[in-house]
Amino acid sequence: MTMQAFLHQLASGLASGSIYASLALALVMIFKATHHVNFAQGEIAMFSTYVAYTLIKAGVAYWLAFAITLVGSFLAGLAIERGIMRLLRNAPVLTAVVVFIGLLVVFNGTAGLVFGQTIQEFPSPFDPHAWYGTTYLSPHEVGALAVTLIVLGVVFAFFRFTRLGLAMRAAAESPESSRLVGIRVGWMLALGWGLAAVLGAVAGMMTAPIVFLEPNMMGGVILYAFAAALLGGIDNPWGAPIGGFIVGVLVNLGGAYVVGSHLQQALALAVILAVLVFRPSGLFGRTVVVRV
């Protein structure tokens, strides 16, 4: 094991970690606002990626297709919240879980139906011979890292510095009080869903050039995102990206040196089970105390 190989694995772990980070943040946003886990997050991201693929195939320039996909995903997320999730406001956990699994099946099945089951090559906007490629990271990995970091930065700035972001945080934190000061809580939740779908779309479009595009391409990625969200603390937005990078590095190094690449998913499963059993609040989450 050379130092260079090790650094390569480490860097490429960080690059995939950034993708898990965006998807994990999407999960955390929805969890924080509604206390639901969006099992369909990965499939919605996959669907967005197919939309981008169709646009690019039709001759639309990559970054234009990228932008259109983000807008489309935002609207789709909004529509899902307004159409279905609203009905789950006071539903039992089982009902909510079944609805999310239903959504997962709808998106997975519709993608297979509309776009076919064959594996497609998804283009990367980053030239494989670009100057920013290094010994440790391919240009696509550098680009994906940059794109996801920018998106994460924008999202955090949005929540920190804008009135709308503040209103959304208030609506998630304390719906009753927010309503009293005139925040339209329902619409804030819908916006949150829209943003989560955008984060998912970015993750999907950055993943597809690496794993190839097919209806089940997010199956592994969503597993890593769950591990990341739980590790960071599923109710902590800052924990999600940190969890994402840790899981990315852990899975990459573990796969390369410890368990072999065939068991990377099992490693994520182990992280999920270990966090849930030993420290359900994750590294940075709040321990929930229920008053009986």
Binding site: V37, T95, I101, L103, A227
Partner: protein, 352 residues
Amino acid sequence: MSTASAAAGLAGTRLRELRARALWLVPAAVVALGAPFSLSDYHVFQLTQVVVYAIAVLGLNLLTGFSGQISLGNGAFYALGAYSAVIAMTHAGVPYWATPPLAGALCFAAGYLFGRSAARLEGLYLALATFALAITTPQLLKLDALERWTGGNQGVVIDKPVSPIPALFNHDRWLYFFCLAVAILLFTGAWNVVRGRTGRALIALRDHPIAAGAMGIDVAAYKATVFGVSAMFTGIAGALGALLSGFVAPDSFQLALSIQLLVGVVVGGIASIGGTVFGAVFIEVVPDLTKHASEVSPALGWLADVQYPMYGVLLIVTVLVLPGGVAGAAAVVRHRLTRSGGHASGAPRSAL
């Protein structure tokens, strides 16, 4: 005097209930025992698959419906049952009829351990953990270290069970009756458990876990035991399923399998044992019907294509509009009928 009449009333209710049950149990028995002799081999195979699914759906329903622990990963126990049966047969020379109890015992142990460590998890987190388990299952089955036994990507092929009385039962019919016998045993067991003290404890656990604990129900032990029993049922179904298809491979045990079992529970009726049978018929027959329809007429080809996404729509609509599934709807209809028709037999117990 009043006690005596109350006792007599109770006995009367019991009798009426028994008579009501005979009303559907007898025809059901006639169909279950007679059908294989009037069906083609392929349809007998399908009917056997329904029986196998019924056991697996029952396993999930005991866990999720009755005790309220949401599992999205019961496909993993199905896989464990299937593989343990196949490996026991090919490597240890275990006869096929001994594989269901073997798989059941192994899965009970695995499920109990999983349930014991997951007992702390609130509903949603358990759903998450089991979801992750379901996604990982194919990869675990492809494990290099176990390839000698599991056959890796290729899986393992076994000989199908041979009928001891070929004159009366051919292969398919023999296996059907074998699976049916196992299913009757397990359904009777589940029925008795659910209707008794344990069943009440389970429902208490589901609806008011804290109150249940305060009443002296050992919450963690009950939860783990139910997990074990659920895994046992599912594992037995897996073993029977492997005998039926004569073949196991990692890709038959993906997330879709766990989702299929969930569809069976939700459509049939959450926390309904009778609904379980309907759910099993549904998940076996619907894909086949749509495939058949598209074979008969190419114009109906879209039916087979939309079938999988429609499962999703069905899950969402059922759980939101008809939370009791088919069994719940049937109970409502029966209730309406009996109320308008005076004291018919089989009145819902809630009305008593």
